[in-house]
C-alpha cells in the first residue's frame, strides 16, 4: 500500500479524490445497496419491509406531519409538548452520532499517519471516567471553569492512554495494533476496579456518582431531548482536525510520515515525535468522545459504558476515507441508523441486530468500491489512494 500512495501536499481537498459528487456517489450507492440487502433479511424473518423502513425513517428523522402539527400547536397555544415530541427523533440521531464523530476522528488521524488505533474503545472509556471524576469530585466551581476542566480531563486521560502505545512504537518499535488492544484490556479491567472501588457511588452498584450540574454540557431543549453542545464540540473538533491535517506544517509532516515514513525520515522529519504526537492526539479525541457522552448525555458512568463506539470508529474512518468531513458524514449515517433502529424495533418488531447487518454491508461496499462500481456499472475513475495503515514489517 505504501508504494502506491502519494503525498497529497498539493491537493488537500476532496474525500478520496475526484469531485464531491463523484466522492459521494459510491457511498450513497453503498448505503442504498445495504438497505436493499437488509430488506432481504427483513423479508427472510417474515416481516414487512415497508413497515420496517418506514419506522426506521421516522425513528431517525421524525415525521413531517408531526412536525407541522407540533409547530402549529406551539404557535396557536404555546404548548410545546407536541413540538418536542416531533423534534425528538432527529435530535436523538444527532446525539447518537456525536461519540461516533469523535471516535471516528481519532481512528482517522491515526490512519493519516499510518497508525492503526484499535484503542479508541479504551481511550473512550478512560476519557469518560476522567471526565466523570472531574465532574463529580470537584464542587463549587462555576460552570465556565468546571465544564472546560472536565472536558480537558477526559481529553488528557485519553491522550495519555493513546500516547503510551505511540511511545512504545516510536521508541521500541512495538506494533501499535498489539499495544492499543492491550491498552483496551487494561482500560476495561481498570474501570471494573474503579467502578467497584475508588469511583463507586455509595451503595453496591458499579456506577460513579452523578456529575455536578456545573460540569454538564448544556442541553438545547428541555427533557427528554438530550441534544447538547457535545454535538457542536464534535463538529468543531472535526474542523480543527481538518485544518490541522491539511493546513499546518505539522499536519503535512504527519501525512508524509503516513504516506512514506522512509521518505519522510530522509526529508528530515522526526518520525518518533510524530508517532507519539499522533497517538496522543488520537487518544485525546477518543477521550473527548467519552467526555461528551458522560457530560452531555449520561451524567454518570456504569459498567458497560463503552459499548463498541471505539470499534465502530474503525469502520467509520474507513467509510469516511480518513477525511474529517467524510468521518462526520459517516458518523451521521451510523447515528441515524442506530437511533432509528429503536422505533423500527418497537413498531415493526425487527431485531435491532438488523442495523448491524446493514452497517456491515455498507462498510463492505465502501471498503470494496469495486463491487459497487461493478453492480451499478460506474466507470472507474482514477482516484488517489489514501494510506490507511502499513503492514506489520514497516
Amino acid at each position: 500500500m505504501t508504494q502506491t500512495a502519494t503525498v497529497k501536499a498539493t491537493k488537500p481537498k476532496g474525500i478520496g479524490g475526484g469531485t464531491l459528487g463523484q466522492a459521494l456517489l459510491v457511498p450513497a450507492l453503498a448505503v442504498l445497496s445495504g438497505l436493499i440487502i437488509g430488506a432481504i433479511f427483513i423479508l427472510a424473518i417474515g416481516e414487512n419491509v415497508l413497515t420496517a423502513y418506514g419506522a426506521l425513517f421516522r425513528g431517525s428523522f421524525g415525521s413531517l406531519p408531526a412536525l407541522i402539527e407540533g409547530i402549529r400547536v406551539y404557535f396557536s397555544t404555546g404548548e410545546n409538548q407536541a413540538l418536542v415530541r416531533a423534534l425528538y427523533p432527529f435530535t436523538e440521531s444527532l446525539v447518537t452520532a456525536t461519540p461516533y464523530i469523535l471516535t471516528g476522528l481519532s481512528v482517522a488521524v491515526g490512519f493519516r499517519c499510518g497508525l492503526f488505533n484499535i484503542g479508541a474503545e479504551g481511550q473512550f472509556f478512560i476519557g469518560a471516567l476522567c471526565s466523570a471524576f472531574v465532574g463529580y469530585s470537584i464542587r463549587g466551581l462555576p460552570a465556565f471553569i468546571h465544564l472546560p476542566l472536565a472536558i480537558l480531563g477526559g481529553a488528557l486521560g485519553g491522550a495519555v492512554w493513546g500516547m503510551i502505545p505511540g511511545y512504545l512504537k516510536a521508541r521500541f518499535g512495538a506494533h501499535e495494533v498489539v499495544n492499543t488492544i492491550m491498552m483496551n484490556w487494561i482500560a476495561f479491567r481498570l474501570s471494573d476496579w474503579l467502578l467497584n472501588g475508588p469511583m463507586q457511588a455509595s451503595g453496591f452498584r458499579p456506577v460513579t456518582p452523578n456529575i455536578q450540574p456545573t460540569a454538564e454540557l448544556p442541553r438545547f431543549f428541555a427533557d427528554p431531548l438530550r441534544f447538547n453542545w457535545g454535538f457542536v464540540l464534535a463538529l468543531v473538533m472535526a474542523y480543527i482536525v481538518y485544518w490541522f491535517l491539511f493546513k499546518t506544517t505539522l499536519g503535512f509532516e504527519i501525512r508524509s510520515v503516513g504516506a512514506n515514513p522512509d521518505a519522510a525520515r530522509y526529508a528530515g522529519m522526526n518520525i518518533v515525535k510524530n508517532f507519539v504526537f499522533v497517538m496522543a492526539l488520537a487518544g485525546g479525541l477518543a477521550g473527548m468522545a467519552g467526555s461528551a457522552q458522560v457530560l452531555g448525555v449520561d451524567h454518570w458512568v456504569g459498567q458497560g459504558f463503552a459499548a463498541g463506539y471505539g470499534f465502530d470508529a474503525i469502520a467509520l474512518a474507513l467509510v469516511g476515507k480518513s477525511h474529517p468531513f467524510g468521518v462526520v458524514l459517516a458518523a451521521l449515517l451510523f447515528g441515524f441508523l442506530r437511533s432509528g433502529a429503536t422505533e423500527m424495533q418497537s413498531m415493526a418488531g425487527i431485531p435491532i441486530d438488523i442495523i448491524s447487518i446493514i452497517q456491515g454491508l455498507v462498510i463492505i461496499f465502501i471498503a470494496a468500491p469495486a463491487i459497487i462500481r461493478w453492480i451499478y456499472r460506474i466507470p472507474t475513475i482514477k482516484t488517489e489512494e489514501t494510506v490507511l495503515t502499513r503492514g506489520w514489517g514497516s
Partner: protein
C-alpha cells in the same frame, strides 16, 4: 441486463421507503417474536448483567396476539445490555410479560439496549407509545427509570432487581434523579427475598451431603450476591441445630461478612477452579452465585463426578440442561412471576408504587425440585417453607 435490473430494484425499494415515510404514523400491531437473527453483541467488556443472574429458559417464543377484544394491556420491556435472549433476568422478565398478555390480552414488546445511553431513549419510545406498563430490567436502569417516572407521572413503571429510594450515592445531586416510594408513586420496584429460597437449599444440601461439607462462592461481594450465600449458610446451620449434625459451609461466613469471590461474572475457568478446590477441601454440593461462572463448576462436577451444583435464579435443569445430571436443585428467583403480578395489578387497577418483594409466600422466590430427595426430606422442606411463610422460622438479618 443486470444494470437495469438493479436500478429497478433500487428504485422500487426507494419508493417503498419514501411511501412508508409519507404515510405518517402507521402503527402496526407487531408480533413480538424473539429475534431469529442472533448477531453477537457489541463487545462490552464490562459486566452486562446483574451479578446474580444465571442462564435461564429462553422466552417461550409464542406470538402474543391479543384476544379478540380490544382490551388488555400493553407492556414494554427495556432490557439492559444483556439483551432479550440473555437466558437470564431479561428473558425471564419477558416471559412474565408474555404470560400476562396471554391471560389478560394486549401486547408485550421489548427494546434492547446496546449502550448505556440507550436506556433513556428506549424508555422514551415506550412513553411515546402510551404503553400501559414499562418494565425496565436491572439496577443500571435505575436513574433513567426514575427520571422518566418523574417526567411522566401518569406512566406506570416496574423495575426489576431495584427499588427506590436510591440516589446512586450520596454525591448525587439532591432531588435530581433519585426518588422514593412517595416521590415515585408510579414505579414498582421488583425485589426478591432470595435468602428464603437459599435457606431451603442450604437445608436440603446439609441433609444430602455425603461428606459433611458444602460450599458456596460468589461473583463480587455485593448484597444481591451475598443474600444467596447468607441464606444458604443459615439453612445449613438450621439443619445442624435441628439434627445435631456438624455440616460445614465453605466459601462464606456471615460472621465475617466475607467469603470466596471470583471477582467476575464471566470466567467459567474460575468456576471450574473454585469447584475443584472446594472438592479437595471435602465439599460435595456447591452453590455458585456468579452467573455463567457456575457453568464451569457444573462442568467440573460432571467430569469428575465428585460434586453437585445448586443453581441460582432459574431452574438449571432446564436452562443448563446439559448439566442436569449434576444439578442438585436450584434457588429460583421468579422475575417472571413478579412482572406478571405487576402487569396484573395494572390491569385490575390496583397498581401501586413502592416495593414488590418476591417471597416464598407469593412465589416470587422458590426452590426447584431437589434431585434424588427422599420423601422425608421433601416433607421437611415443605414444612420448613410453610414455617418461613408463617414466620415461625425466621432468617437472620
Amino acid at each position: 441486463m443486470k444494470k437495469s435490473y438493479f436500478a429497478m430494484v433500487a428504485l422500487i425499494i426507494a419508493s417503498l421507503v419514501l411511501a412508508a415515510c409519507g404515510g405518517g404514523q402507521t402503527q402496526t400491531p407487531a408480533a413480538t417474536e424473539p429475534p431469529t437473527e442472533v448477531v453477537t453483541e457489541a463487545p462490552t467488556e464490562a459486566m452486562t448483567e446483574a451479578p446474580t443472574e444465571a442462564p435461564t429458559e429462553a422466552p417461550t417464543g409464542e406470538a402474543t396476539e391479543p384476544p379478540a377484544s380490544g382490551e388488555g394491556i400493553t407492556i414494554g420491556q427495556v432490557t439492559d445490555l444483556g439483551g432479550i435472549d440473555d437466558k437470564s433476568f431479561n428473558a425471564s422478565a419477558f416471559a412474565g410479560a408474555e404470560r400476562a398478555v396471554e391471560q389478560l390480552g394486549g401486547e408485550a414488546k421489548y427494546l434492547e439496549s446496546q449502550q448505556q445511553s440507550d436506556y433513556a431513549r428506549n424508555i422514551q419510545q415506550f412513553v411515546d407509545e402510551d404503553t400501559d406498563l414499562i418494565v425496565t430490567v436491572g439496577f443500571l436502569l435505575g436513574v433513567d427509570t426514575a427520571t422518566a417516572a418523574k417526567a411522566n407521572p401518569d406512566q406506570k413503571f416496574a423495575i426489576v432487581d431495584y427499588s427506590y429510594p436510591d440516589c446512586f450515592g450520596d454525591t448525587a445531586v439532591e432531588g435530581e434523579t433519585c426518588g422514593s416510594a412517595t416521590e415515585l408513586p408510579n414505579v414498582m420496584g421488583l425485589t426478591f427475598d432470595t435468602d428464603q429460597a437459599a435457606f431451603l437449599a442450604g437445608y436440603a444440601a446439609a441433609a444430602s451431603t455425603q461428606t459433611g461439607t458444602v460450599a458456596t462462592f460468589g461473583g463480587i461481594n455485593i448484597p444481591p450476591v451475598t443474600i444467596f450465600m447468607k441464606g444458604f449458610e443459615a439453612g445449613v446451620n438450621y439443619y445442624n441445630e435441628q439434627k445435631g449434625t456438624d455440616v460445614q459451609v465453605l466459601g462464606w461466613s456471615t460472621a465475617d461478612n466475607d467469603g470466596v469471590f471470583t471477582g467476575n461474572f464471566e470466567s467459567t475457568d474460575d468456576g471450574r477452579a473454585n469447584a475443584e478446590s472446594f472438592v479437595q477441601e471435602g465439599a460435595d454440593i456447591i452453590m455458585p452465585v456468579a452467573g455463567p461462572v457456575g457453568l464451569g463448576s457444573a462442568a467440573y462436577c460432571q467430569e469428575s463426578g465428585s460434586c453437585r451444583i445448586v443453581g441460582v435464579d432459574t431452574d438449571w435443569t432446564v436452562s443448563a440442561s446439559e448439566y442436569s445430571d449434576v444439578i442438585f436443585t436450584s434457588v429460583l428467583k421468579r422475575v417472571d412471576n413478579a412482572v406478571f403480578d405487576a402487569a396484573q395489578s395494572v390491569a385490575d387497577g390496583s397498581f401501586a408504587g413502592g416495593v414488590y418483594l418476591g417471597t416464598l409466600e407469593n412465589e416470587g422466590v422458590g426452590l426447584a425440585e431437589v434431585s434424588g430427595a427422599a420423601s422425608e426430606l421433601t416433607a421437611e422442606l415443605d414444612q420448613l417453607k410453610a414455617d418461613i411463610i408463617a414466620g415461625t422460622v425466621t432468617l437472620p438479618e
